[in-house]
Symmetry: C3
Subunit: 129 residues, 3 copies
Protein backbone atom coordinates (compact mmCIF):
# COMPACT_ATOMS: atom_id res chain seq x y z
CA UNK A 1 0.00 0.00 0.00
CA UNK A 2 2.57 2.58 -1.04
CA UNK A 3 1.62 6.23 -1.47
CA UNK A 4 3.15 8.17 -4.36
CA UNK A 5 2.92 11.96 -4.36
CA UNK A 6 3.71 13.56 -7.70
CA UNK A 7 4.45 17.30 -7.81
CA UNK A 8 4.52 19.40 -10.95
CA UNK A 9 3.69 22.93 -12.02
CA UNK A 10 0.24 24.17 -13.01
CA UNK A 11 -0.64 24.29 -16.68
CA UNK A 12 -0.61 20.65 -17.75
CA UNK A 13 -3.56 18.72 -19.13
CA UNK A 14 -5.45 16.07 -17.23
CA UNK A 15 -4.20 13.51 -19.76
CA UNK A 16 -0.59 14.53 -19.21
CA UNK A 17 -0.91 14.16 -15.45
CA UNK A 18 -2.66 10.82 -15.82
CA UNK A 19 0.11 9.57 -18.08
CA UNK A 20 2.67 10.48 -15.43
CA UNK A 21 0.69 8.70 -12.74
CA UNK A 22 0.23 5.64 -14.98
CA UNK A 23 3.94 5.51 -15.78
CA UNK A 24 4.91 5.72 -12.12
CA UNK A 25 2.48 2.97 -11.20
CA UNK A 26 3.57 0.70 -14.05
CA UNK A 27 7.17 1.14 -12.88
CA UNK A 28 6.22 0.07 -9.36
CA UNK A 29 4.46 -3.01 -10.68
CA UNK A 30 7.35 -3.96 -12.96
CA UNK A 31 10.25 -3.16 -10.65
CA UNK A 32 8.75 -4.31 -7.35
CA UNK A 33 6.07 -6.78 -8.33
CA UNK A 34 3.23 -4.74 -6.84
CA UNK A 35 -0.29 -5.84 -7.84
CA UNK A 36 -2.22 -3.55 -10.18
CA UNK A 37 -4.79 -2.60 -7.54
CA UNK A 38 -2.17 -1.53 -4.98
CA UNK A 39 -2.27 2.01 -6.27
CA UNK A 40 -2.46 5.17 -4.17
CA UNK A 41 -1.35 8.40 -5.81
CA UNK A 42 -1.73 12.10 -5.29
CA UNK A 43 -0.85 14.70 -7.91
CA UNK A 44 -0.07 18.19 -6.63
CA UNK A 45 -0.14 21.11 -9.07
CA UNK A 46 1.95 24.03 -7.89
CA UNK A 47 2.13 27.66 -8.90
CA UNK A 48 5.52 27.98 -10.63
CA UNK A 49 6.99 30.07 -7.83
CA UNK A 50 5.99 27.44 -5.24
CA UNK A 51 8.05 24.62 -6.78
CA UNK A 52 11.69 25.49 -6.44
CA UNK A 53 14.87 23.81 -7.57
CA UNK A 54 18.18 24.84 -8.98
CA UNK A 55 18.24 25.05 -12.77
CA UNK A 56 21.67 23.42 -12.94
CA UNK A 57 21.65 20.83 -10.15
CA UNK A 58 24.60 18.43 -10.60
CA UNK A 59 25.70 20.44 -13.65
CA UNK A 60 22.73 19.22 -15.71
CA UNK A 61 20.11 21.58 -17.08
CA UNK A 62 16.70 21.10 -15.43
CA UNK A 63 13.54 22.73 -16.78
CA UNK A 64 10.13 24.04 -15.72
CA UNK A 65 8.65 20.69 -16.75
CA UNK A 66 10.33 18.95 -13.85
CA UNK A 67 8.51 16.44 -11.70
CA UNK A 68 9.16 15.57 -8.05
CA UNK A 69 8.05 12.07 -7.09
CA UNK A 70 7.93 11.09 -3.44
CA UNK A 71 6.99 7.51 -2.61
CA UNK A 72 6.27 6.18 0.87
CA UNK A 73 6.85 2.45 0.65
CA UNK A 74 7.79 -0.68 2.59
CA UNK A 75 11.51 -1.21 3.05
CA UNK A 76 13.34 -2.44 -0.05
CA UNK A 77 16.89 -3.48 -0.74
CA UNK A 78 19.22 -1.29 -2.73
CA UNK A 79 18.92 -3.25 -5.97
CA UNK A 80 15.13 -2.96 -5.92
CA UNK A 81 15.33 0.79 -5.37
CA UNK A 82 17.73 1.19 -8.27
CA UNK A 83 15.48 -0.88 -10.51
CA UNK A 84 12.51 1.25 -9.51
CA UNK A 85 14.31 4.52 -10.21
CA UNK A 86 15.48 3.34 -13.63
CA UNK A 87 12.04 2.12 -14.58
CA UNK A 88 10.27 5.30 -13.49
CA UNK A 89 12.66 7.47 -15.52
CA UNK A 90 12.34 5.16 -18.52
CA UNK A 91 8.54 5.03 -18.37
CA UNK A 92 8.20 8.80 -17.98
CA UNK A 93 10.48 9.38 -20.97
CA UNK A 94 8.22 7.11 -23.03
CA UNK A 95 4.93 8.54 -21.73
CA UNK A 96 4.13 11.40 -21.48
CA UNK A 97 7.68 12.30 -22.52
CA UNK A 98 9.40 13.77 -19.47
CA UNK A 99 13.17 14.20 -19.86
CA UNK A 100 15.09 12.10 -17.29
CA UNK A 101 16.87 15.34 -16.40
CA UNK A 102 13.53 16.64 -15.12
CA UNK A 103 12.70 13.68 -12.88
CA UNK A 104 13.57 13.76 -9.17
CA UNK A 105 12.61 10.82 -6.97
CA UNK A 106 12.74 10.27 -3.22
CA UNK A 107 11.68 7.21 -1.22
CA UNK A 108 10.54 7.13 2.38
CA UNK A 109 10.68 3.60 3.75
CA UNK A 110 8.36 2.34 6.46
CA UNK A 111 7.48 -0.93 8.18
CA UNK A 112 4.73 -3.04 6.58
CA UNK A 113 2.67 -2.69 9.77
CA UNK A 114 2.48 1.09 9.18
CA UNK A 115 -0.39 0.83 6.69
CA UNK A 116 -4.07 0.34 7.24
CA UNK A 117 -6.95 -0.24 4.86
CA UNK A 118 -10.24 -1.95 5.55
CA UNK A 119 -10.22 -5.64 4.64
CA UNK A 120 -13.27 -7.87 4.63
CA UNK A 121 -13.14 -10.32 7.55
CA UNK A 122 -11.88 -13.70 6.29
CA UNK A 123 -15.12 -15.61 6.88
CA UNK A 124 -17.60 -12.94 5.86
CA UNK A 125 -19.87 -13.68 2.92
CA UNK A 126 -18.98 -11.85 -0.25
CA UNK A 127 -21.89 -9.65 -1.25
CA UNK A 128 -21.89 -8.44 -4.81
CA UNK A 129 -23.44 -5.02 -5.16
CA UNK B 1 4.34 16.87 17.75
CA UNK B 2 2.98 14.59 15.07
CA UNK B 3 1.86 15.98 11.72
CA UNK B 4 -1.26 14.52 10.11
CA UNK B 5 -1.96 15.23 6.44
CA UNK B 6 -5.49 14.43 5.34
CA UNK B 7 -6.23 14.16 1.61
CA UNK B 8 -9.70 14.14 0.09
CA UNK B 9 -11.40 15.33 -3.06
CA UNK B 10 -12.76 18.84 -3.62
CA UNK B 11 -16.44 19.48 -2.98
CA UNK B 12 -16.84 18.90 0.76
CA UNK B 13 -17.96 21.47 3.29
CA UNK B 14 -15.72 23.14 5.79
CA UNK B 15 -17.69 21.40 8.56
CA UNK B 16 -17.18 17.99 6.98
CA UNK B 17 -13.42 18.52 6.73
CA UNK B 18 -13.26 19.80 10.30
CA UNK B 19 -15.15 16.74 11.51
CA UNK B 20 -12.58 14.51 9.82
CA UNK B 21 -9.70 16.44 11.37
CA UNK B 22 -11.38 16.34 14.80
CA UNK B 23 -11.97 12.61 14.56
CA UNK B 24 -8.37 11.92 13.59
CA UNK B 25 -7.07 14.04 16.44
CA UNK B 26 -9.42 12.48 19.00
CA UNK B 27 -8.19 9.05 17.89
CA UNK B 28 -4.58 10.10 18.45
CA UNK B 29 -5.41 11.36 21.91
CA UNK B 30 -7.34 8.22 22.84
CA UNK B 31 -5.09 5.62 21.28
CA UNK B 32 -1.70 7.17 22.02
CA UNK B 33 -2.33 9.45 24.98
CA UNK B 34 -1.38 12.62 23.14
CA UNK B 35 -2.33 15.88 24.85
CA UNK B 36 -5.12 17.92 23.29
CA UNK B 37 -2.83 20.76 22.25
CA UNK B 38 -0.38 18.48 20.41
CA UNK B 39 -2.28 18.95 17.19
CA UNK B 40 -0.79 19.69 13.79
CA UNK B 41 -2.93 18.90 10.77
CA UNK B 42 -3.09 19.78 7.10
CA UNK B 43 -6.10 19.07 4.90
CA UNK B 44 -5.44 18.82 1.16
CA UNK B 45 -8.36 19.10 -1.26
CA UNK B 46 -7.64 17.49 -4.59
CA UNK B 47 -9.29 17.71 -7.98
CA UNK B 48 -10.89 14.27 -8.45
CA UNK B 49 -8.44 13.26 -11.18
CA UNK B 50 -5.47 14.10 -8.93
CA UNK B 51 -6.38 11.59 -6.20
CA UNK B 52 -6.05 8.13 -7.61
CA UNK B 53 -6.70 4.68 -6.19
CA UNK B 54 -8.14 1.44 -7.42
CA UNK B 55 -11.89 1.13 -6.97
CA UNK B 56 -11.60 -2.49 -5.84
CA UNK B 57 -8.39 -2.59 -3.78
CA UNK B 58 -8.27 -5.84 -1.73
CA UNK B 59 -11.58 -6.89 -3.34
CA UNK B 60 -13.52 -4.24 -1.38
CA UNK B 61 -15.41 -1.43 -3.10
CA UNK B 62 -13.87 1.98 -2.47
CA UNK B 63 -15.61 5.24 -3.38
CA UNK B 64 -14.95 8.84 -4.38
CA UNK B 65 -15.44 9.81 -0.73
CA UNK B 66 -12.20 8.14 0.23
CA UNK B 67 -9.72 9.78 2.57
CA UNK B 68 -5.95 9.27 2.70
CA UNK B 69 -4.43 9.98 6.10
CA UNK B 70 -0.66 10.23 6.45
CA UNK B 71 0.75 10.75 9.91
CA UNK B 72 4.39 11.53 10.72
CA UNK B 73 4.85 10.46 14.30
CA UNK B 74 7.35 9.27 16.89
CA UNK B 75 8.09 5.54 16.82
CA UNK B 76 5.34 3.37 18.30
CA UNK B 77 5.00 -0.33 18.96
CA UNK B 78 2.75 -2.49 16.84
CA UNK B 79 -0.08 -2.65 19.35
CA UNK B 80 -0.26 1.13 19.58
CA UNK B 81 -0.38 1.44 15.81
CA UNK B 82 -3.20 -1.08 15.58
CA UNK B 83 -5.12 0.72 18.28
CA UNK B 84 -4.66 4.01 16.46
CA UNK B 85 -5.86 2.60 13.14
CA UNK B 86 -8.94 1.05 14.71
CA UNK B 87 -9.82 4.23 16.54
CA UNK B 88 -9.40 6.48 13.49
CA UNK B 89 -11.68 4.25 11.40
CA UNK B 90 -14.23 4.06 14.21
CA UNK B 91 -14.23 7.81 14.82
CA UNK B 92 -14.54 8.66 11.14
CA UNK B 93 -17.48 6.28 10.76
CA UNK B 94 -19.20 8.08 13.66
CA UNK B 95 -18.32 11.61 12.49
CA UNK B 96 -18.64 12.77 9.77
CA UNK B 97 -19.67 9.31 8.57
CA UNK B 98 -16.84 8.00 6.38
CA UNK B 99 -17.12 4.31 5.51
CA UNK B 100 -14.15 2.31 6.85
CA UNK B 101 -13.77 1.02 3.29
CA UNK B 102 -12.88 4.59 2.27
CA UNK B 103 -10.20 5.19 4.88
CA UNK B 104 -6.53 4.60 4.05
CA UNK B 105 -3.87 5.31 6.67
CA UNK B 106 -0.10 5.38 6.55
CA UNK B 107 2.38 6.17 9.32
CA UNK B 108 5.90 7.53 8.93
CA UNK B 109 7.88 7.04 12.13
CA UNK B 110 10.66 9.35 13.20
CA UNK B 111 12.90 9.92 16.23
CA UNK B 112 11.57 12.27 18.95
CA UNK B 113 14.53 14.57 18.33
CA UNK B 114 13.29 15.19 14.77
CA UNK B 115 10.76 17.83 15.85
CA UNK B 116 11.22 21.45 16.73
CA UNK B 117 8.86 24.06 18.13
CA UNK B 118 9.70 27.13 20.15
CA UNK B 119 9.46 26.57 23.89
CA UNK B 120 9.70 29.30 26.48
CA UNK B 121 13.01 29.08 28.39
CA UNK B 122 12.41 27.31 31.74
CA UNK B 123 13.15 30.30 33.96
CA UNK B 124 11.53 33.03 31.92
CA UNK B 125 8.63 34.94 33.41
CA UNK B 126 5.26 34.08 31.99
CA UNK B 127 3.75 37.20 30.44
CA UNK B 128 0.03 37.13 29.88
CA UNK B 129 -0.99 39.05 26.83
CA UNK C 1 18.97 15.96 -2.36
CA UNK C 2 16.66 16.82 0.51
CA UNK C 3 13.07 17.88 -0.11
CA UNK C 4 11.62 20.67 2.03
CA UNK C 5 7.85 21.20 2.07
CA UNK C 6 6.76 24.52 3.52
CA UNK C 7 3.12 24.97 4.53
CA UNK C 8 1.47 28.28 5.29
CA UNK C 9 -1.90 29.91 4.91
CA UNK C 10 -3.16 31.68 1.76
CA UNK C 11 -2.81 35.42 1.54
CA UNK C 12 0.94 36.00 1.51
CA UNK C 13 2.92 37.63 -1.27
CA UNK C 14 5.19 35.79 -3.64
CA UNK C 15 8.12 37.71 -2.16
CA UNK C 16 7.20 36.65 1.38
CA UNK C 17 7.03 32.99 0.39
CA UNK C 18 10.31 33.24 -1.50
CA UNK C 19 11.98 34.79 1.53
CA UNK C 20 10.83 31.86 3.65
CA UNK C 21 12.14 29.36 1.11
CA UNK C 22 15.44 31.24 0.83
CA UNK C 23 15.86 31.33 4.61
CA UNK C 24 15.20 27.61 4.94
CA UNK C 25 17.68 26.79 2.20
CA UNK C 26 20.36 29.10 3.62
CA UNK C 27 19.93 27.36 6.98
CA UNK C 28 20.46 23.96 5.36
CA UNK C 29 23.60 25.19 3.65
CA UNK C 30 24.99 26.77 6.83
CA UNK C 31 24.03 24.08 9.32
CA UNK C 32 24.62 20.99 7.20
CA UNK C 33 27.08 22.12 4.56
CA UNK C 34 24.75 21.45 1.65
CA UNK C 35 25.81 22.92 -1.70
CA UNK C 36 23.77 25.83 -3.04
CA UNK C 37 22.36 23.85 -5.95
CA UNK C 38 21.07 21.02 -3.76
CA UNK C 39 17.73 22.74 -3.38
CA UNK C 40 14.31 21.12 -3.72
CA UNK C 41 11.39 22.94 -2.13
CA UNK C 42 7.63 22.96 -2.34
CA UNK C 43 5.47 25.70 -0.85
CA UNK C 44 1.87 24.75 -0.05
CA UNK C 45 -0.69 27.51 0.50
CA UNK C 46 -3.64 26.36 2.55
CA UNK C 47 -7.09 27.79 3.16
CA UNK C 48 -7.02 28.90 6.81
CA UNK C 49 -9.39 26.15 7.92
CA UNK C 50 -7.20 23.49 6.31
CA UNK C 51 -4.11 24.26 8.40
CA UNK C 52 -4.86 23.37 11.98
CA UNK C 53 -2.90 23.68 15.19
CA UNK C 54 -3.57 24.60 18.76
CA UNK C 55 -3.26 28.30 19.51
CA UNK C 56 -1.47 27.64 22.80
CA UNK C 57 0.71 24.60 22.10
CA UNK C 58 3.30 24.20 24.91
CA UNK C 59 1.77 27.23 26.66
CA UNK C 60 3.12 29.62 24.02
CA UNK C 61 0.86 31.72 21.83
CA UNK C 62 0.94 30.68 18.17
CA UNK C 63 -0.61 32.76 15.39
CA UNK C 64 -2.21 32.49 11.96
CA UNK C 65 1.18 33.37 10.47
CA UNK C 66 2.56 30.00 11.47
CA UNK C 67 4.69 27.92 9.12
CA UNK C 68 5.08 24.14 9.08
CA UNK C 69 8.36 22.95 7.59
CA UNK C 70 8.81 19.28 6.77
CA UNK C 71 12.19 18.19 5.46
CA UNK C 72 13.01 14.76 4.06
CA UNK C 73 16.75 14.41 4.41
CA UNK C 74 19.62 11.96 4.79
CA UNK C 75 20.25 10.74 8.33
CA UNK C 76 21.98 13.28 10.57
CA UNK C 77 23.26 13.19 14.11
CA UNK C 78 21.47 14.99 16.91
CA UNK C 79 23.85 17.94 17.03
CA UNK C 80 23.38 18.62 13.32
CA UNK C 81 19.61 18.51 13.67
CA UNK C 82 19.72 20.97 16.56
CA UNK C 83 21.96 23.29 14.61
CA UNK C 84 19.60 23.12 11.65
CA UNK C 85 16.53 23.91 13.76
CA UNK C 86 18.22 26.87 15.43
CA UNK C 87 19.40 28.27 12.13
CA UNK C 88 16.03 27.93 10.42
CA UNK C 89 14.26 29.75 13.27
CA UNK C 90 16.94 32.44 13.32
CA UNK C 91 16.88 32.96 9.55
CA UNK C 92 13.09 33.13 9.40
CA UNK C 93 13.02 35.70 12.20
CA UNK C 94 15.45 37.83 10.19
CA UNK C 95 13.70 37.34 6.82
CA UNK C 96 10.82 37.61 6.19
CA UNK C 97 10.22 38.09 9.91
CA UNK C 98 8.43 34.99 11.19
CA UNK C 99 8.24 34.76 14.97
CA UNK C 100 10.04 31.64 16.29
CA UNK C 101 6.79 30.84 18.10
CA UNK C 102 5.18 30.37 14.68
CA UNK C 103 7.76 27.96 13.27
CA UNK C 104 7.22 24.20 13.48
CA UNK C 105 9.78 21.84 11.97
CA UNK C 106 9.81 18.11 11.41
CA UNK C 107 12.52 15.96 9.80
CA UNK C 108 12.04 12.63 8.05
CA UNK C 109 15.36 10.84 7.72
CA UNK C 110 16.14 8.45 4.89
CA UNK C 111 19.10 6.51 3.50
CA UNK C 112 21.29 8.30 0.93
CA UNK C 113 20.40 5.61 -1.62
CA UNK C 114 16.73 6.69 -1.45
CA UNK C 115 17.20 9.60 -3.85
CA UNK C 116 17.43 9.67 -7.59
CA UNK C 117 18.21 12.43 -10.06
CA UNK C 118 19.67 12.13 -13.52
CA UNK C 119 23.43 12.55 -13.58
CA UNK C 120 25.49 12.84 -16.73
CA UNK C 121 27.50 9.64 -17.32
CA UNK C 122 31.10 10.18 -16.14
CA UNK C 123 32.71 9.92 -19.56
CA UNK C 124 30.11 11.71 -21.64
CA UNK C 125 31.12 14.85 -23.49
CA UNK C 126 29.80 18.05 -22.00
CA UNK C 127 27.61 19.78 -24.54
CA UNK C 128 26.91 23.42 -23.90
CA UNK C 129 23.47 24.43 -25.06
Amino acid sequence: MPLATISLRQGTTREYRRAIADSVHAAMMDALGLPADDRFQLVLEHAPENMIHDRWFFGVERSEQSVFIQIVINRRDVSEKRRLFARIAENLAASPGVRPEDVFIGLIEVAPENWWAYARPPDSPVVES
